[in-house]
Symmetry: C2
Subunit: 138 residues, 2 copies
DNA sequence: CCGCGATCATTAGCATACAAACGAAGTTCC
DNA sequence: GGAACTTCGTTTGTATGCTAATGATCGCGG
């Protein structure tokens, strides 16, 4: 006797839907037309000051091809800027512009509200439990 | 005094990474070059026999534009086939081909193993807890 | 039976994501 | 000092996934 396969109870399917809801909330609530990945890059640049493009990708869990597209779009909008590293000709250093730093200041509290909205159905204890469980699957 | 904003502890960021890991496992372990969304469509067609394209999208949590691309690719590979509904000229009915049904039989147990691999770090009780928590955020 | 709103499929545009392949540039080891 | 390996950035191709617009069709109310 085999357990039935119920798509709606599979972790991958549920994960995709939870992610969809979070993405929708992010799209509604975030300022400056920032996407979650663009916001991640900005946060890490704010912490690290300046960073090579690939290293920024590792900090934000994006591969080289993906982070390049993200930085290209942010740079086109004047939020980030790039320059070659004088000591290592392979590296493309990325940093926030002044406008990017101003945007980051406003975006971080906004992102905190988005996290709150995403987790709204859960109590404080449940939120901690969820994060701890997800962390093991990372 | 404000809590610091730690990107790595935000539910959206963790969710994206867990999803990445699941997608990687899916890519390694699934047969027939099926992606998670393609597999979802196949499972639902197997349950429902035949289904309009948009309704299939609702069953699998994909919007009209996305499900169309998925079905186009499956049809191009001979896994699904489409036909107009004789009673409602707006509908495009989608169903599995014989090859699609054979593939579905093998893919479902494979998907069960992928779910198992994704949840491997958790105990049975933890898995149930995680699913219950995620379900509330759907 | 006619208009109006709803549904359906399609298309275009944008933004992730990953794999694979490439050349350029470092690093290590003999 | 040179070969082998690694890292980095880039490009190409494929697959989601969303929004918005479009046109066809359906159902309902008057």
């Amino acid at each position: 006797m085999t357990l039935p396969y119920v798509l709606e109870q599979q972790v991958g399917f549920v994960l995709r839907q939870v992610n969809q809801r979070h993405l929708a909330l992010f799209g509604e609530m975030m300022i400056g037309e920032l996407t979650p990945t663009q916001f991640s890059a900005i946060v890490k640049l704010r912490e690290h000051g300046s960073c090579s493009q690939n290293r920024l990708g590792r900090l934000t869990a994006m591969d080289g091809a993906t982070i390049k597209g993200v930085i290209d779009r942010l740079t086109r909008r004047g939020i980030t800027e790039t320059s070659p590293d004088p000591d290592d000709a392979r590296l493309l250093m990325v940093s926030l512009t002044a406008a990017g730093r101003r945007l980051a200041e406003q975006a971080v509290p906004c992102a905190a509200r988005i996290t709150e909205a995403t987790l709204a159905p859960l109590s404080t204890a449940e939120r901690a439990r969820l994060l701890a469980l997800l962390d093991q699957l990372r």
